[in-house]
Symmetry: C2
Subunit: 191 residues, 2 copies
DNA sequence: TTTAATCTACCTACTATTAGGTAGGCACTC
DNA sequence: GAGTGCCTACCTAATAGTAGGTAGATTAAA
């Protein structure tokens, strides 16, 4: 049980740093300290591991988003929290969102993983759309267009900025990329 | 010479669809019709091939950007052309910008390729910054912040939107992502 | 309550396949 | 005859995955 979790942790870090093709069972074996073959006991194939990975990640991620929504802050505050998740990932070890990492090398993925990936994007856009709809009411975000367009743009922006910043190993490039969006967010509670 | 170009063409398509680790010399061999070993005559190592790839790509890309700049259109028109380059790549066969593809699997890249990658990003941001500076003068783009921030955001946005759209195999997701930016662009010449 | 059956979590040792890369040779052109 | 562009035939290392076995805990039956 503990081993399974260690494997998931180790694999997640690897994928988010180097992509799904960027680690092997042999790598995991060394890091965890069990034999390569034993990993197959927990995850019969690498595709199974990938599926478990994105499943766990999505669960955690959307639980966090739910917390943010339930925190009751303004749309602007919630967007700031959202952006912070992506910034933290970079700072914590040059990691990108698991889904950015998977999107990138998409051809080596099973259809099951691809489905989960699309679900992740769809749910992210849905969450962000809600936020931008709330923004239209509380007025805490300026320069809004259609909520769904603002939402898609925000998702593309943070993921793109993450990719840029990691390539240059420089979080400040992420900050530079999201600065214009942050500038649209009201700094004080609006009602 | 012809073979060399065929190899570059084939490799570029492969990288932009599946990433740098997503193709092998064996794949190229099959596609081009020469033996795997013969490819090493043209590109001694895969890293050499990668370098040649990004070098050629950057040359072509920035020549296009120079043409756009010299076209004399408004900042809005030039931004529209810029976005169109990224949209076309998706439409032409689910390809992303070579540099998006390379950024993703950055750990399998040589330092030379990584340098070129960073140069590409830096030059892109420089070009876009110029456009946004012009926008501040000709007024053809609304809602502008600092030029360099708008520029970085634009780059992150188109690259992120490309990634999103390709994962779902749906160009309309790209359009949805860049819609808000396009909405800021004046549709008629401004002076 | 001992005994037998089964399950868990690992092991060693292996397979087939693919990866990038090399050595040396052969035809052809300048 | 030197260089170009390709070939066959190989190499080593790594890949995911498999076969078969084992120590130890758990469960079921006598």
């Amino acid at each position: 049980m503990d081993t399974r979790i260690s494997l998931l942790d180790s694999a997640e870090r690897a994928v988010r740093q180097r992509g799904f093709d960027g680690f092997s069972y042999a790598d995991l074996s060394k890091e965890i300290g069990i034999r390569k073959a034993s990993i197959h006991y927990h995850f019969a194939t690498k595709a199974d591991l990938g599926f478990a990975l994105i499943e766990r990640y999505a669960e955690r991620f959307f639980a966090t988003l739910a917390d943010i929504r339930n925190s009751g802050g303004s749309a602007a505050e919630q967007l700031r929290s959202y952006i912070q998740i992506y910034r933290d990932a970079l700072a914590e070890g040059e990691q990108v969102c698991l889904c950015v990492a998977l999107s990138a090398g998409r051809d080596s993925l099973s259809t099951e993983v691809l489905d989960q990936l699309n679900r992740f994007h769809a749910e992210s856009i849905a969450w962000l759309t809600e936020v931008f709809e709330r923004a239209a009411q509380d007025g805490s975000v300026s320069g809004c267009a259609l909520p769904i367009e603002d939402a898609t743009a925000a998702l593309a922006l943070v993921e793109g900025a993450q990719l840029l910043a990691r390539a240059r190993k420089d979080v400040s490039l992420f900050n530079q990329g999201v600065a214009a969006l942050i500038a649209r967010l009201a700094t004080h509670p609006v009602h």
